[in-house]
Amino acid sequence: MGTVDFSGIRKSVCLDWVPDVKIGEYVIVHVGFAISKVDEEEAQETLKLFEQISGSLDELKYDGSEKSGLR
């Protein structure tokens, strides 16, 4: 069990399924269990996408294909 901070609220959470989690990292919590560690690299990539996208489709750099599982 570890302590997870939700914007200042601290709660005891089971960390058994994120064994390599370190202090300062972010987790997704469900009913008292951490079910995944937030992959900050992926998160930053997605957030960058939000910045890059503008109204015109021509400027679109996003292409979902590298994330697919069916090829």
Binding site: T3, F6, S7, G8, I9, R10, K11, S12, V29, H30, V31
Partner: protein, 355 residues
């Protein structure tokens, strides 16, 4: 019997409980006999004492040279009775004071009737009474009459407090939900959802470490500050149970107006927001005990806002929306992403989500 420290609140007893021969409240303490007399004199009158209460009459005889009076009544049944930032006694006094303040009145006199469950530790009763006297002093009101009953163990929930309050309304002040008009701005005096989350943080089954304390506070002084800035304040409401959503719905219904509030303008503390996320609560429906909503004419809204922000209890005040001439009796909210949804009346109690 649960001890007060379980809630994590440490109340230092500045004066020891004056009844030392009884550790707990007994049925006889409500019986009308010697023990009743003892508890009334030593616990209640000794703390609340004032020229009216000291008469120890059946009722208080009060001077009445006012044109209009505000009169309110309320019951307090909060569980647990001691919680971070307050207790049932402080809640009872401030809650009643606030109801009067929301009528535009200067709160003056309160009554308090106690229904005590047999077995309540005398210490706990004393703490509640001390807290009430402190709250009354802070708000500038007097407890002038009261009553005490004790019920069998199991037939109460430690202590229930029912109050009534009287206040005086100055000429020229007219606060009424029906005064809401198209164009009025909707103001809130600070961060929402604090009290409800403070209570939830100690409720069994939902315990989590948190530094959130109830925002329980008397709002009469803040209201006076607002009146000094403008008399174009049409409606005042303290959003207690049911949160700001319920309060706004009640006003909309009463006045037959529509409202639009903006999610990104509603002040909320990060921790309260986080707690609501975990618990699956919508902060719009979470109780507040030291906040008010005000509907102010659009011309004076900024002036009133500035006055509120200058007051310690209103420093996070904000204009969160306006009264519209569309969809009467319904409150809408523009979400952060630009969509719009109805803010309905609360149904039942909010239950934490599962996924």
């Amino acid at each position: 019997m649960e001890s007060h420290t379980k809630a994590g609140v440490k109340i230092e007893l500045s004066c020891p409980v004056p009844i030392s021969d009884y550790k707990n409240v007994l049925l006889a303490h409500g019986g009308g006999g010697r023990l009743s007399h003892q508890i009334i004199q030593k616990i209640f009158v000794s703390q609340f004492h004032n020229e009216f209460l000291d008469q120890t009459h059946d009722g208080a005889i009060l001077p009445a040279n006012r044109s209009r009076l505000a009169f309110t009544t309320d019951s307090y049944v909060v569980n647990p009775i001691f919680f971070p930032g307050g207790d049932i006694g402080m809640l009872a006094v401030n809650g009643t004071v606030n109801d009067l303040a929301m009528c535009g009145a200067t709160p003056l006199y309160l009554s308090a009737a106690f229904i005590i469950e047999e077995g309540l530790p005398m210490d706990d009763l004393w703490r509640v009474v001390l807290s009430m006297q402190e709250a009354a002093k802070r708000a500038g009101v007097m407890l002038v009459t009261g009553d005490t009953k004790v019920v069998d163990k199991g037939k109460g929930d430690k202590i229930f407090i029912t109050t009534a309050g009287i206040g005086a309304i100055e000429d020229g002040i007219d606060i009424n939900p029906k005064n809401a008009r198209f164009g009025d701005k909707i103001l809130v005096s600070g961060n929402i959802g604090v009290h409800g989350i403070a209570i939830m943080s100690v409720r069994e089954g939902l315990e989590f470490e948190t530094k959130i304390e109830s925002d329980c506070a008397p709002l009469n002084d803040l209201v006076q500050t607002m009146f000094k800035a403008s008399r174009q304040i049409h409606v005042l409401r303290d959003p207690t149970r049911g949160g700001i959503a319920s309060a706004l719905n009640e006003i909309a219904e009463s006045a037959n107006v529509g409202m639009m509030i903006h999610e990104d303008r509603i002040p909320i503390d990060e921790s309260v927001s986080g707690a609501c996320e975990i618990l699956g609560f919508d902060p719009l429906y979470v109780a507040n005990e030291g906040k008010l909503l005000a509907l102010v004419s659009s011309e004076d809204a900024e002036k009133v806002l500035a006055a509120m922000r200058s007051h310690p209890l209103g420093k996070d005040s904000a204009i969160i929306g306006e009264v519209t001439d569309e969809h009467p009796k319904t409150v809408f909210m523009k979400s952060r992403i630009g969509g719009s949804r109805v803010v309905d009346m609360l149904s039942g109690e909010q239950l934490p989500r599962i996924c």
